[in-house]
């Protein structure tokens, strides 16, 4: 019935008619939200509308860039890094200079990881390759950066007595904060490590699923997926390292004191 209505049905390219039909599932979500008074109806509507507009826009942009405007690749990546920076910084309220920290860690993660992939000639320097891989690195680095910034600030505030006891013994701030920096880096890196451990067992990840749906052989799909997982491990390590280092610098003064907002929690 559905296949007849949408013309092709799945198995070939998805038409806008197919997309429109899939709104039935959004209606299910709306129904559940309304019936059980979850209160997410307007959020669901906004999310659905935004996803349509945003993806349509990026679809046209990518189509344009891929068709002989490859020089714009850097611009596309820069816009993504900027958006990720603002999102990550907004989550890390209470960390002074969260924006420059997020910008640096996401940019380093992206440039570093793509740089290695290109330098080792693992991937070709084409927009069609660099933009999708870059976007995966950026969104993953964004999460890592938020986690590291937030965790480090929270933990130093909670562990203020112990941090200051170490400072009192003459330890430099970097050394005094090392246990908390370690925890923050772990927190930032662990989700990707865990995902990598269970990949294929718990869920078939996005890149692989996409290739299989598009008709590629599963063995070709897993090679890409492995590349993606390893890439994200590296990218997140870059992001965690830079975010951890820069956040630490902003939470202490040059005179090895906790910044005021962390110091005055119990006067």
């Amino acid at each position: 019935m559905i296949a007849a209505a949408s013309g092709a049905g799945f198995g070939g390219p998805v038409s806008f008619a197919d997309v429109a039909l899939a709104l039935v599932l959004v209606a299910v979500a709306l129904g559940v939200s309304w019936w059980r008074r979850v209160g997410l109806e307007s959020d669901l509507a906004v999310a659905t509308a935004r996803s349509f507009v945003q993806l349509l826009a990026i679809g046209y942009v990518l189509d344009f860039v891929f068709s002989d405007h490859g020089a714009l690749t850097v611009v596309v990546l820069a816009v993504m890094v900027t958006t990720a920076t603002l999102t990550s910084a907004a989550r890390a309220a209470g960390v002074p200079g969260a924006r420059p920290i997020a910008a640096a860690s996401i940019a380093v993660a992206t440039a570093g990881t793509l740089g290695v992939l290109l330098a080792l000639r693992i991937v070709h320097p084409q927009p069609r390759v660099v933009i999708p891989l870059g976007s995966m690195i950026i969104s993953s680095a964004m999460n890592t950066t938020s986690l590291v910034m937030t965790r480090l600030r929270q933990d130093l505030a909670a562990g203020r007595r112990e941090v200051e006891a170490r400072l009192c013994l003459g330890q430099p701030s970097r050394e005094a904060a090392r246990p908390w920096q370690r925890t923050a880096l772990r927190t930032g890196m662990l989700p990707t490590v865990d995902q990598t451990k269970v990949v294929g067992l718990v869920a078939l990840p996005g890149a692989m699923t996409g290739m299989i749906l598009a008709g590629a052989s599963p063995l070709a799909a897993i090679r890409l997926q492995l590349l993606v997982m390893y890439m994200l491990l590296g990218g997140n390590a870059f992001a965690a390292l830079v975010a951890g280092e820069l956040t630490l610098r902003r939470l202490f003064t040059a005179d090895h004191q906790l910044i005021r907002s962390l110091r005055r929690t119990a006067a």
Partner: protein, 210 residues
Amino acid sequence: MGGEFLLEYRDVRVDGDDGPIVAGFSARVPAGRLTVMVGPSGAGKTTLLRLLNRLDDPDAGAVLFAGRDVRDYDVLDLRRRVQLVGQVPVTFPGTVADNLAVAGEVDGAAGALARVGLDPGLAAREADRLSVGEAQRLALARSLVLGPEVLALDEPTSALDTTSKAGIVGLIRDLADSGLTVVMVTHDPAHADLADHVVRVDPRSRDPRP
């Protein structure tokens, strides 16, 4: 050191979120004596103590150590020379011996423990298994192994039971008698009896010089 006074607060003001925590505070701390800074809760005693080793800085005025502004010292060196022990004893992960070595290699952990009345046999014990009283003594031992010129104590007995309190107070008195400059902050006026020198800290007050 030379002079009579090792530490001096000069017209110090420290601002909090809702106005000054202390304002116009001046006082001097004599060398080699036990000075007790006594005042009610919220008078800013802890804040004043934190100025000595620069965990905090004053918003106005100055704190002098051996005649020089504390901000003119290398801050890490200052903190080793002016040891501050907080109100709630902090132990670090690891054994008692590990705790003593946090600030650097220690010769004779046993001697350091004995000096604060702890059984040297405790050196191998995990520090988080100490009682609060033992932890407070360990915190003192950890500071003393650095060979400080000043020991600054923030309500050192407030977390302790009566027996432990008496022990710590006796220990503090002994340290001062051995020639160490000790500054102790307390809300308990009874502790003033122990002191060689008393500084009263009133809320937002302008204390006269001693």
